[in-house]
Symmetry: C2
Subunit: 623 residues, 2 copies
Amino acid sequence: MPFLDQRRSKASYTDVLIIGAGPAGLMACNALAKLGVKVRIVEKRPHNITVGHADGIQPRTLEIFQSYGLLDPILKQGNQIHASAFYGPDEQGSLQLKNRVAPVGVRDARYPFALALPQSAVEEALRDSMAAAGVQVERPIVPLSILVDEEARNSHDGNASPVHVELHDLHSNELGVVHARYVIGADGAHSWVRKTLGIAMEGEQTEHVWGVIDVINPTSDFPDIRNKALIHSEQGSCMIIPREGDKIRLYIQLDDRIALESLSGASAREPARNGQRIDKFSLGPADLLDVAQKILHPYTLRTEGDAIEWWTIYTIGQRIASKFAVNDRIFIVGDACHTHSPKAGQGMNASMGDSHNLAWKIAAVVNGWAKPSLLETYEHERRRYAQDLISFDKKWAKLFSGKPQTKEHGAGVTHEEFLEAFQTFGGFISGIGIHYLPSTITNTDYETAANANGKVAIGKRFPPHAVIRAADSKPVDLQDLLPADGKFRLLAFFGDEDEMGFRSTTSSSVGEIGIPEVVVKLSAVIEQVIGEFSSEAFDVLSILTVDGDPRESALISHLVSWPLVLRSHWSKVLFEDRKDRLFSSPSIVVVRPDGYVGPIASLHEAKTHLARYFSGFLKRGAL
Amino acid sequence: MPFLDQRRSKASYTDVLIIGAGPAGLMACNALAKLGVKVRIVEKRPHNITVGHADGIQPRTLEIFQSYGLLDPILKQGNQIHASAFYGPDEQGSLQLKNRVAPVGVRDARYPFALALPQSAVEEALRDSMAAAGVQVERPIVPLSILVDEEARNSHDGNASPVHVELHDLHSNELGVVHARYVIGADGAHSWVRKTLGIAMEGEQTEHVWGVIDVINPTSDFPDIRNKALIHSEQGSCMIIPREGDKIRLYIQLDDRIALESLSGASAREPARNGQRIDKFSLGPADLLDVAQKILHPYTLRTEGDAIEWWTIYTIGQRIASKFAVNDRIFIVGDACHTHSPKAGQGMNASMGDSHNLAWKIAAVVNGWAKPSLLETYEHERRRYAQDLISFDKKWAKLFSGKPQTKEHGAGVTHEEFLEAFQTFGGFISGIGIHYLPSTITNTDYETAANANGKVAIGKRFPPHAVIRAADSKPVDLQDLLPADGKFRLLAFFGDEDEMGFRSTTSSSVGEIGIPEVVVKLSAVIEQVIGEFSSEAFDVLSILTVDGDPRESALISHLVSWPLVLRSHWSKVLFEDRKDRLFSSPSIVVVRPDGYVGPIASLHEAKTHLARYFSGFLKRGAL
């Protein structure tokens, strides 16, 4: 490690060092801090951003925020989007409403809407939460060098800290070396970590140019100024995102041939060009508004002089990093591993999704529960997702930028093509449909239970499911009982109260009925699994099926005699309505700490399946 | 004013002085502060309470908190009660579950549950909200004298401050005189204000003795330890209230003959007595637990040594103040005007309800909108309510304390009698059914609209009503759009889109259809009413009826051409589902600033009704 000797650097140790404090870095940092991992996060920018930047939170990301207990501040500051309006030319080329529909892919979401809010609000919520766990962003700090100690890199178990990062504090001008067990590069599209490690970005070299402008309280007669609106006119295409308060955001693709013509044909401030390329530095917010106004014609959109809160013009390519991890010691997340257009509002979501996937895995290894090989699944799961994202983005961009069909342009993109693509990619856009490929932690061999309505799928997130707490009849959602606390949740589905020998009556006493066989069997399986690994890695929820008003169930009076492993707290026993039950016979579902589904085992296979599944990546024996 | 000359006292002026900073005083203070009224609040206790005291928030009170934007902190800290369990003896006298039902009177509530939480949490939420408006509790301060200046008391309009209160700051030992326009006595059951003004308490002189104990995380095999449980056994009666966290509260009526026998028969610490009366000062928490354990037999309830967070024994009578106001300058609220048993969890609710009723009236007079005679309606509305409360409490207490029916005691109270009373008084217990008698502000002459399902009633609170915002399709509840901001809300119901000449199509343009006649007429009525009085006193909401998905309504594209009075902000236009519509023809409903319904006028009568109604208590002319 030659660089260590060259300067007088202060040395320190940490479990995880995160480079970059945008949404991806902060999501990882908060998650790790809450899971008891020693974590530091450094950022080169001296100040927090306050306006602009990313603005969209998709339904799955709302569920993830809920799992961290962070939904409230996000919902309070965001603007819910409940409708998407599509505008296009009629046969004569005049702009008209084509369709106004619910946002895509929200049907099975816990929160059936998208949320628009400034990136700063997301970052603030994460920073506040981290601060409660004692972690602050250290800034302005830049990394100077990064090195993995070859000898120590394979000794994951001890306190080896084989990654050495030299940091430069731009404020104090001091240098320091951090010895970390793991490093996460969350340093954006121009990632220093990625470049320093020599990880290539794959994909097209074409750069697309986008203009974005945030306007406060515009005056407009456009009927969908408070809806997400995709306007695909003969003058070009733009997208309106209604924001918190009375703000709106406009996205305009500027390398779109049509938008360009519109700009050059009428703008008094005609921009300098390099052939077909715009010189983005010569354009200003007035140019962006000009284009938007032409696209919106005959509707009008006017603003006051000081109403422009933020604007930017940026270029972006559709590319993906060739790998997401080095030696499973250094990981890159977010824009550092994938870049794409802002059209489907995926940016922050994909980035935070990476960190959500990675954090619990690092914590499980650091906490000593899991084998280091668990870390391999990060790249396996998230790189494939990023590939899908970019392939979707390309298809979507082509439709978005194409000339719309009119009488004059018979070969243009039809509204139907546009809408169909929107619906096809619904689950992908909302994040609800994300389905991880089979691996150690999502092994499809372990699906043997009778999945009553197909709602639960290995590799997909556990769906919302309305249940009633047995002890106090409070309606809750089963998904809300799956917090991102690093634990695997064993959901024991017991089946029907009738099948267990209960009648819905208040008179039968425990003595008369005894403990049903299914209860004895399922609790034995769970006790064995928990005993075999670290009990701290598990939490158990019991789900019973009832008909009608659960308050009338005879089960309530009998639960006090059931094994404690099934009811470690009174809040852990739940009733589901027989009409909506997830499984038609007794079974156990394992939900990963990130809310994704592992084995779905029938009562008879549960013992073997669960033992084999957890042996794949958990260490045996209590700590 | 002789006392002013006797000492050197600092003099100050305020619009309203509140004496007492419990729930009633704080509710009034927060409401007035938010309405821009200059208000001070003094309290004799040096510190905030932190544990114990009142614990129940009823559904209507939750709605009221929502109207002040204070529901979130309350919900976060409270424990929702979704079931009430009734236990009584079987024929052999052995305790059994009789019934487990939803809490009463919640069916039409916006929040269909009761909430248990400490009084301290309610007070804290109100204090935090007040602080944001710049008002703090001044403490420890006691009032020494109160006087109404006879000459000035009738000049409500100017800045006359005819109520003079001498205060003693117990901390600095300084004296001061506050000259106030209005004084609110919120100083509890032993109210100094009430006694000083010579207001008598009417009602029975009998004092009932109650024991209350808060137990943290008890060990129990009682199946309803997390439900509200009313246990009416041969050993006496008690009530379990599940509280936040793993706490429970037990209420035991100690002057109940049966509970007394239970105590005397077995307690080693047999208390001193005066004939039939308990010397409450000789009893401790162990005695209370003893009684509760006997009542619960054969179920057990055990606690750790340090598990008792708070306990008290107190005596209470069922009484009501002979008047609630003096010269409409001094008002008493809360326990100062009514005392009753804790059995139906009404205490804090009745108290805060008084203040909620009074605050907007004082603010409307102080702000110059309303005639001082409006203040007369406080006593009119709230004293009748208090009378009903006490009469209900007596009936309820009789059932609660009576010996339950068994084979041996054939004449005892049956479970059916108990349950029937519980259901009969449902609306009263939940607060949802409160119905103010006709007066200037709830004049039943002004009901002419075709109330489609009878949900809206003059003198009752405006019910929850699911609507969709036209501009952005966000589902909201109409009740949530009625904040306690001091304004009267004019709800304009326009009727059906078909009746207005719209077809559910996106192709008809504004030019083809024009502005429907009903829109022109209703907007004219509203403009006239607003013009006649102070426009600041009003807010207008427009409600349109649609069939099916509102996103498909052609109305959305037409709203931009409607008169601005109907859509002062994009969020003010709402769609209701035709299936659930409140009125079957165009009409205007007036909702008072406290959420209670005034006139319900059909389109044809609206102009006359509204003008007459508001003339009754509002001043003419803009300010």
